[in-house]
């Protein structure tokens, strides 16, 4: 495994090295040492690399990721894997606000907790949180799956579109237009597959499903209080 010492070379050098790698590059496995909570580490990758970051990271780690598998051995700041298109980002610790925000694809796994607005405006990504999520998670979530193995705080799924939310623990409250829905067999299968892909040993039967009531999809003056 090739090593990059961020403390010695800085974020620009680390990212430039990783951006220069293609699918056919000899070295596909990389270890970033001494991340020191710096921002924008390993963002904008677009190659099937395996990147391990040995420590905590700041904002937007793995942002807009394509293809790469990034493992953060520590905690992550705001917007981890924001707008990810494909690949995988794993956080072995906990994540701050807006984890997986607007992400279109790929898999984001947070083994610990995620703060508020986890999966905000998600557009197709799958997110699995081993612990709990903060308030307004799944806000305006458009598509994809958000799995919460712990609890979800207030206003879960506010103004949600077509994303599906699975929560094993308690839900503080549901946001506007978000309702609990029947957990059908196909949902259990989908959830089991996702938990397995995330490497989390959880019983799908513990989870409840939430999604959009679709009452706010077209403006109606009688629903004005919900807007």
């Amino acid at each position: 495994m090739a090593e990059l010492d961020l403390k010695a070379t800085g974020v620009r050098s680390v990212n430039s090295t990783l951006h220069g790698l293609t699918a056919g590059a000899n070295e596909q496995d990389w270890l970033i040492k001494n991340p020191m909570g710096q921002h924008a580490i390993a963002c904008g990758l677009d190659a099937p690399l395996n990147v391990t970051i040995d420590g905590h990271v700041g904002f937007y780690c793995g942002g807009m990721n394509q293809q790469a598998v990034i493992t953060i051995q520590g905690h992550a700041g705001v917007g981890v894997a924001e707008n990810m298109m494909s690949g995988q980002v794993r956080v072995t610790g906990s994540a701050s606000d807006a984890a997986g925000a607007t992400a279109h694809g790929g898999l984001l796994v947070i083994e610990g907790d995620a703060s508020s607005r986890c999966g905000i405006s998600m557009k197709g990504v799958n997110i699995v949180v081993g612990g709990s999520v903060g308030h307004m998670s799944g806000f305006m979530a458009q598509s994809g799956l958000l799995v919460v193995c712990g609890d979800a705080s207030d206003a879960l799924g506010d103004s949600i579109y077509e994303a599906i939310l699975f929560v094993a623990g308690k839900v503080g409250s549901l946001g506007a237009d978000c309702i609990e829905k029947e957990m059908r067999p196909e949902h259990l299968i989908k959830l089991a597959d996702l938990l397995e892909a995330a490497g989390l040993d959880q019983d799908p039967a513990r989870f409840r499903r939430y999604g959009s009531a679709r009452a706010l999809y077209n403006f109606d003056i009688d629903n004005v209080d919900a807007y």
């Binding site: 963002c43 904008g44 707008n83 607007t102 806000f139």
Partner: protein, 441 residues
Amino acid sequence: MTTEIPPTLPRKSATFDDYTLSEIRRAAATGIYDIRGGGAKRALPHFDDLLFLGASMSRYPLEGYRERCGTKVVLGTQFAKYPIELDIPITIAGMSFGSLSAQAKEALGRGASIAGTSTTTGDGGMTVEERGHSKTLVYQYLPSRYGMNPDDLRKADAIEVVVGQGAKPGGGGMLLGQKISDRVAAMRDLPKGIDQRSACRHPDWTGPDDLAIKILELREITNWETPVYVKISGTRPFYDTALCVKAGADVVVLDGMQGGTAATQDVFIEHVGQPTLACIRPAVQALQDLGMHRKVQLVISGGIRNGADVAKALALGADAVSIGTAALVALGDNDPALEAEYNKLGTTAGAYDDWHEGRDPAGISTQDPELAKRLDPIAAGRRLANYLKVMALEAQTIARACGKSHVNNLEPEDLVALTVESAAMAQVPLAGTDWIPGRSG
């Protein structure tokens, strides 16, 4: 002798005028606020309230058509490896595919490219048509992130982080279901036919400190090659401009309340924000205080209509201007030739602003394939290019008359104001005096 009492004429209230009464009746009948496109329609202090002094005994003019008067401008010179070089200081503002037809977006790209300037994407992402037909394309990075992806980000010649819009500072967007075609729905990852709400603030950052980190991320992803603009609305231009600089913007785009939108509440358009004229000098002052004037470029938008407006904005300290509504008119929007069709929609040419309904007979603000194909993107692009070139020529004409060898050499000293209000806002003397309200005497 009969003594008839002369009747007084019926008198309508200036406060409750006909438009106001009609709006009360409409609201009472429908129970919903009025949504429309465009910018503020009310009379506001504007560039018409300023005049150029021209040459005199102490200032000599340049020979029209003979002596050189430059119009080129370079945007994004602070950090980006590849700044934007434009032939004219007039750019096309961000307007989305979705709010506009693909033909209209193509026409904007064609016209801008012929004229040697940039055009800008909007909410909903980048289309193949506009990238293909735009020599210089600015990619808007918006709160909704509809259609946002790193491949298109890297294809852009500049990135514009949208914080605010003059027509609706603090507001998000709404694209009504009528305009959500299969293609628009697919680009935005949402079902066809539903109202698509755009968030009013970004999902993963709040405030200037976070914005600095967001800009860092964008620069890292584009290898520090691409200029990053930040677009703000005309609310607190002094502080907002300073904070944009602090956050690391290459260019500040400042949009006054005459700037248009595809759709929002009329009450929002008419009652939130400041006139463009009132925004320029505070923004320039902020740049000057920081020693960043002309290093971080300032682009002004909101109600720019002709070369005189361009010249006045530049004289007040802007590096360039941006046009939206005027560009649509050049393409063919609100053309009196379509009067009969506007009448069927309950309006008249020049007043049509229900862009959100998608029934634009000009084929511009629509996703209806039959309406959209009415717009010939080649001919419309040519009209836009002509219009842009006329504006540049007009600005040059004025600049030469003021003795300037480049339009960006125009300065506040070249201007006077016709009203106390405009003198105060533009911080130039009231005509016939040396009085600048709030500053001198």
